[in-house]
């Protein structure tokens, strides 16, 4: 069972959170101008990374705030949680 460090409430069991999937996928500003393929990329295509993965979680049973988590999708180790506005760790920084 994952232990997720909510930036506001502290470490809690995974069951208090909802997973929000891949982080840092910005909604296109001018959706109307995108091709169907470009829109599909935003809508459906995912990196589904094996390794260090930036994802969004919301502390549903707690403060109900969304935040970002960097978690390893093989070991499940969590090395970082940071606010929505934050930037992901550069790949070379990760082991």
């Amino acid at each position: 069972m994952l232990l997720i460090d909510c930036p506001h409430c502290g470490p809690r069991d995974e069951t208090e959170f909802h997973a929000g999937g891949e982080a840092h996928i910005a909604r296109p500003e001018k959706a109307a101008e995108l091709t169907d393929a470009q829109w599909a990329d935003y809508l459906f295509m995912r990196s589904n990374t094996k390794g260090w993965f930036a994802e969004r979680w919301v502390h549903a049973a707690g403060c109900r705030r969304w935040f970002n988590v960097e978690r390893h999708t093989v070991t499940h180790e969590i090395r970082r949680t940071y606010p929505m506005a934050g930037a992901p760790t550069e790949p070379e920084e990760g082991p």
Partner: protein
């Protein structure tokens, strides 16, 4: 209780003296296979049976060979019994773990008609025709025979115990624990670890599977140190005994099962049978010990062949001698101490057969000094005696002389395998240690600390030192001070000879069928050889092909021997063969304990409204809507669903009805950008909505498919109240918060759920206004002052209420919102005031019919996640100017197709026929092809989403999603269901009061 008492004279094995665990002043009566036996308090079922001379306790799975007790603990593959009777029964209990109590009844399993006369033992004779995986190679002739004969027979043969009959009468509890250091294993090493961690001020939890800490070490030279340690630890740490840590999960999360009262007689069990402990530990020390393994030789499965360590345990703990004339077969020194202990307890030792040659160590010397015959470089090549060992045949490894030796028990030891299960479960890597001839933890920084036999620290001295080191490392890793050094003063143990990796006694291929590797599943050396011969060389392949390790013991004794022999057979290096993955649980765990209290009525919360008790008193039938209980209909004196719904519908159409709509989601949306926010989440526009006015809105996911709908009202320029469907209340709030927090933090908007705060009472029907007027005298409620789709704050029955003039029935309707605590008062006031107007409470079913008569869709019933607002014919509610969530998706080629499945009304040509909901639509041109059962598919045009008999219209009505439906108005199609094809005409979705005069009046 070590006071010795005279050995009784029953056939061996016999109770030689008291043991550490048993109280020889308290006899306990148990029954096994209907026969009464007497054991002692503290006995396991196994030790009690052994003390009574019982040898055969079960039958093996495949060949039904008679099997005896092999071990003294959780690794037992043979001694499975059915415990207790009826609903209290437990299948596949391990006799070697079950603590006896007065009146315990146990029966053997997998035999018929009886343990001693098992007709299926005939399979033993057919063994040669049933090698590993034989079923893959045969039963291929006829599908019918496979279905009707072969498979049913195979199934009948499968399994050991039987599922209990009836619901489980006992209770299970769950607890959470948090600690600095979790120590798994209460042996000497675990004790030392716990003591060290406590000494440095850490919050420690120590968990031991046995009833006692340091089980069976009363005779140990470290007895004194142990007693002190137990005292200290019991004081400073949380100690759980009879508790098995069975699972290691992410981030220091461990699960353990405590056998709270399984050891007590039925009547003495207080409340909880078993308790599940869920533990989050910052640091972990594993001191899980090691498991002794059998040697692989012909008939090594005979009753009377024991693991050497088990023989020692039965003696020390229970005072039971497993034999009076004993042969030991080993590859290591530990066995010698055991044999000497047995000798001292009165057993004759016929010989120690050691695969090793030229032994020089202290253990051997000691044995020889005791006058024990030691045969070095010898092996056991056969065991005589079918249901009880009568003797063994030994032979020199170099192929030299053979000899028959009479004995009544054979002890075997193939060395020790560290219990790496938990270490491996949480991702730890294993490495092969040639010195120990075993796989040991290859500890990395993030892994748990290891101590004791788990990492080869054998002997009490090494265990204490290693345990202390691990415990203090765990504590200091948390920044605690290092504990003051404290170890035991112990005599040095004599230098010994190293164990020798020895995976099988060399025998002729024909004899391999009798060399058992997995005792429970009857997989033998021959099976492993065959698997390898057929190309199954990966351990996982061998495991799956031979079923080695698939039993209730999960291969605790057999897997390593399988691995060793795979390595030999493939000429591979054992060090390069990874053991098959260790999975939770370490030991089988009761389903009921895992489920805890979240089962039965508590499986999921029941949510009720403030008016629930009134509905119950009114005799309502309830419908589950998500977690909510909603009144479905209110049957009056024996009415059927249809009769009640008809009455309720007509009451609304002709007089006035009252509905508890409290379960609707309600979200207060506040802020300068509230309207702009609604513009983005709803498909329609909100900026121009006036204060005090309501509007219907549709929400899409980004894929353009409908997600939710509802009316939202502007309470103030910067304040809206949004309503959602009952089922989506939480999802919609999450959805809004997600967009506000993740994508549009710049918007000045706050959302607050007020679903539970406001109870919603809907008055609907031509006389609704009159009823409300009685409750709110002096408030102008006429269409002029309180028009349709508007809102006012009104004092209703003396309560400040928010009243919305919105309608889901198509009738004149007011939705009165009051705080939870006032709802019952207002509802009852309405019922009283409404009596004069024939007010009638109506439930969700009537509501569904009424809205269907008006063609209002229900998201989730008339839509299924593949429907857009345009498909519903609601282009009027889809803005072409602004952007909104999901808009771009509506422009995709397939989503923009003009001939998508679209929302239409259906009128059956026979007005009395009500189409079954879910019926599939088939066009006139294809209806002839419908011939159920269908050999080839018939094109389907869509399906019926809602269908009812409309009392007010005196005919059936239906709503459907039909391909290209908008352009097919007037066309006759067929609704096919239950073998009928019902003709119906496509038309508009609004069946009643199309111009809405009733609603707006």
């Amino acid at each position: 209780m070590t006071a010795t008492r005279p050995a009784n004279l029953r056939a061996p094995p016999v109770r030689a003296r008291g043991g550490d665990w048993v109280d020889d002043t308290r006899p306990i009566a148990v029954s096994f296979d209907g026969r009464a036996y007497t054991g002692l308090a503290g006995d396991t079922l196994a030790s009690a049976l052994l003390a009574n001379g019982v040898r055969v306790v079960g039958r093996s799975l495949k060949y039904h060979r008679p099997r005896g007790i092999l071990s003294a603990g959780f690794e037992e593959p043979n001694a499975l019994v059915q415990l207790g009777k009826g609903a209290h029964s437990e299948p596949n209990a391990l006799a070697t773990r079950v603590e006896i109590y007065d009146g315990m009844t146990a029966t053997s399993v997998n035999r018929w008609p009886s343990l001693s006369h098992d007709v299926f033992a005939a399979f033993g004779l057919l063994a040669r025709f049933m090698p590993a995986g034989f079923y893959y190679k045969t039963f291929l002739g006829s599908r019918v025979l496979w279905d009707r004969l072969y498979e049913p027979f195979l199934r009948r043969m499968a399994g050991f115990g039987r599922a209990p009959v009836g619901a489980d009468p006992e209770n299970y509890d769950q607890r959470h624990l948090q600690c600095d250091v979790l120590v798994v294993g209460g042996g000497v090493a675990g004790l030392a670890s716990a003591r060290a961690a406590c000494a440095s001020g850490a919050r420690v939890v120590l968990i031991e599977d046995n009833p006692e800490l340091a089980a069976g070490l009363a005779a140990s030279p470290a007895k004194e140190w142990i007693d002190v340690a137990i005292g200290v630890v019991k004081q400073d740490a949380t100690v759980l005994t009879r508790t098995t840590v069975f699972g290691a999960y992410d981030a220091g999360y461990f699960a353990a099962l405590q056998r709270a009262s399984d050891h007590l007689p039925q009547e003495a069990r207080a409340g909880v049978r078993q308790r599940l402990w869920l533990i989050r530990a910052k640091q972990v020390v594993l001191a899980t010990g090691a498991i002794e393994r059998p040697l692989v030789f012909p008939n090594n499965d005979r009753p009377g062949v024991y693991l050497a360590g088990a023989a020692r345990a039965y003696l020390d703990r229970f005072g039971v001698l497993v034999g009076r004339n004993v042969v030991a077969f080993t590859n290591n020194d530990e066995t010698y101490a055991t044999v000497i202990a047995l000798k001292k307890a009165g057993a004759a030792i016929a010989a120690i057969v050691d695969v090793r040659a030229n032994l020089t160590g202290g253990a051997v010397a000691l044995a020889k000094h005791e006058g024990i015959r030691v045969l070095e470089g010898y092996v056991v090549v056969d065991v005589r005696g079918r249901s009880a060992v009568r003797g063994v045949t030994i032979a020199a490894l170099d192929g030299g002389r053979r000899e028959k030796i009479a004995c009544d028990a054979l002890l075997m030891s193939g060395g020790w395998s560290p219990a790496v299960h938990l270490f491996s479960q949480q991702g730890g890597k294993l490495i092969y240690d040639p010195g120990m001839a075993a796989f040991v933890p290859d500890r990395r920084p993030a892994d748990p600390w290891c101590a004791g036999a788990l990492c080869g620290e054998t002997g009490v001295d090494a265990a204490i030192t290693g345990g202390w080191r691990a415990g203090s490392s765990a504590a200091t890793a948390l920044g605690k001070p290092a504990p003051r050094g404290l170890t035991a003063e112990l005599p040095d143990e004599p230098k010994g000879d190293a164990p020798l990796a020895f995976w099988r006694v060399p025998v002729a291929p024909s004899a391999e069928r009798k060399c058992f590797i997995d005792f429970q599943n009857d997989s033998t050396l021959a099976d492993v050889s065959l698997a390898v011969r057929e190309g199954f060389t990966h351990p996982e392949h061998v495991k799956r092909y031979t079923l080695t390790g698939f039993g209730t013991d999960q291969g605790k004794t057999g897997n390593i021997n399988a691995l060793g022999n795979i390595a030999e057979r493939t000429g591979g290096d054992l060090a390069r063969l990874a053991p098959t993955t260790f999975r939770p649980p370490f030991l089988p765990v009761t389903f009921g304990a895992l489920a805890g209290r979240e089962k039965g009525a508590l499986l999921d919360p029941v949510r009720v409204t403030a008016l629930h008790d009134w509905h119950v008193a009114a005799g309502a039938a309830f419908e589950n809507v998500g977690q909510w209980k909603r009144p479905w209909y209110y049957p009056k004196d024996g009415e059927t669903l249809d009769q009640a719904v008809t009455r309720e519908c007509l009451a609304v159409r002709n007089n006035v009805g009252i509905l508890d709509a409290s379960t609707l989601g309600k979200i207060e949306i506040v802020g300068a950008d509230a309207a702009a926010f609604l513009n983005r989440v709803y498909t329609n526009a909100w900026s121009k909505l006036g204060v005090g006015r309501s509007r219907y809105g549709l929400m899409c996911r980004e894929d353009g498919m409908l997600f939710d709908d509802g009316t939202t009202t502007r309470l103030a320029p910067d304040r809206f109240l949004m309503t959602t469907t009952t089922g989506n209340a939480a999802a919609v709030l999450d959805w809004l918060e997600e967009w506000l927090q993740t994508e549009w933090p710049d918007l000045k908007v706050y959302c607050t759920s007020v679903t539970d705060h406001w109870s919603t009472i809907a008055l609907a029907g031509p006389r609704a206004r009159e009823v409300l007027q009685c409750l709110a005298p002096g408030t102008a409620l006429d269409a002029e002052n309180f028009p349709f789709m508007s809102y006012q704050e009104v004092v209703v029955a003396g309560v400040a209420a928010r009243v919305f003039r919105i309608s889901f029935t198509g009738e004149l309707s007011f939705e009165i919102n009051v705080p939870w605590h006032d709802a019952r008062h207002v509802w009852e006031a309405a019922i009283t005031a409404g009596a004069a107007f024939g007010i009638t409470p109506y439930g969700t079913e009537a509501m569904h019919v009424l809205r269907a008569e008006k063609g209002y869709p229900i998201i989730g019933q008339d839509t299924d996640g593949t429907v857009t607002p345009l498909d519903l014919g609601m282009a009027w509610a889809v803005s072409t100017k602004k952007d909104f969530l999901g808009k771009r998706s509506l422009a995709r080629p397939d989503t923009a197709r003009p001939d998508r499945k679209q929302f239409v009304g259906l009128l059956t040509s026979d007005p009395s026929r009500v189409i079954p909901e879910g019926a599939q639509i088939v066009s006139e041109s294809n209806i002839a092809d419908v011939r159920l059962p269908q050999s080839s598919p018939v094109p389907m045009e869509g399906h019926v989403t809602s269908s009812y008999f409309s009392a007010v219209l005196g005919r059936s009505i239906a709503l459907a999603l039909v391909r290209d439906g908008f352009r097919r108005t007037g066309e006759t199609v067929y609704a096919v269901a239950d073998g009928h094809a019902i003709a119906a005409r496509i038309g508009p979705t609004v069946f009643y009061d199309p111009d809405g005069t009733r609603r707006d009046g």
